[in-house]
Symmetry: C2
Subunit: 195 residues, 2 copies
């Protein structure tokens, strides 16, 4: 394995353990068993290397989400949503650094335009995928805008759930509680519609 690949995995590990801003060139060198100059040679600069590694990490993140989402095959929508949320919560437990890196990426995006585009694109791809989670069949008559909005809605819930999990796992809602909350909201809306 060449130093180029070694540097990438080393940088990715540093990303998980120390975060983007806290990792130095020497950290990466130590983690990848290479040497300082190889960073410049293969990537031009530390930032370029770290950005490449972050993109990789984000792709891994997306793959993890896909994996979680693939489990939602229940015929009933509420069941499907609940299993999606519990799947996410489980993933937080097993792949925490991955999710932390994802959140950090959002903050970094503000000052790294290239990264921001990458993340925006990932989100753009995630929206339709999530929308089909709700709109299964007979959804041909659903306007594209609405479809997109449903994707955004579920995506927002996912991101928000992530943040709460990272800040305070005790207080953050479980997948079941998320479903319960949605049920209560639906019930309230239905009641006021009946009246």
């Amino acid at each position: 394995m060449g130093h180029r690949e070694r540097l990438l995995v080393g940088a990715r590990n540093c990303l998980y353990e120390r975060g983007y801003t806290r990792t130095t060139t020497r950290d990466i060198v130590a983690a990848s068993d290479t040497n300082l100059a190889s960073i410049g040679y293969h990537f031009g600069s530390k930032d370029a290397l770290l950005t490449a590694a972050l993109v990789q990490a984000f792709e891994e993140w997306g793959a993890e989400i896909d994996r979680v989402l693939r489990d939602g095959t229940q015929p009933d929508l509420m069941d499907r949503l609940e299993s999606m949320w519990t799947g996410l919560v489980d993933s937080f437990g097993t792949h925490r650094p991955l999710w932390v890196a994802g959140i950090e990426a959002f903050a970094l995006a503000e000052h790294l335009p290239a990264l921001r585009e990458q993340l925006a694109e990932s989100y753009a791809r995630a929206r339709p995928a999530l929308a089909t989670f709700v709109i299964r069949d007979g959804g041909e008559n659903v306007a594209g805008k609405t479809r997109e909005a449903v994707g955004s809605f579920l995506l927002a819930l996912m991101t928000g759930l992530t943040v709460q999990r990272l800040l305070d796992p005790e207080a953050a809602p479980s997948g079941h509680e998320m479903a319960e909350a949605l049920r209560l909201i639906i019930g309230t809306v239905n009641d006021s519609a009946d009246a």
Copy 2:
């Protein structure tokens, strides 16, 4: 105005313009028209100053959210939710740096335990406040856990909406689209319940 206060507002401005990790002691000094040594004198270290400033910024963020939420007085729940989301979106436009700093705070919390507690506490306070947004009256028979879950649910939507706005304002949903998405989800759940 003493240098202590000057340093705090300078640090806060740097937080908004450059973000936590990118601001140096000399940035703060330049922004506050003070001098290097005053940081050590008044706060002991740069990190202590910056953390204090970040806490201030986060309080300001909370106040902004309160301001937005106070506008939701419509009797109908869906109307109330929609006005809340449009209020948030409007706020992103006018107070962008505030929201960016909020997101960055999440990422920083992972490595700054004191900050993490602060944020967790803010979230804990926000949950009941948001819950009353849905559960208006006759909600005495709603279990405390469910109430909390509703707060978490709305909070997650808020955070997730923020992130999408910051990554790509064009693709992010409007307040109206969020409401439309919720309506479609409710409709789908109702339909499958009828069948």
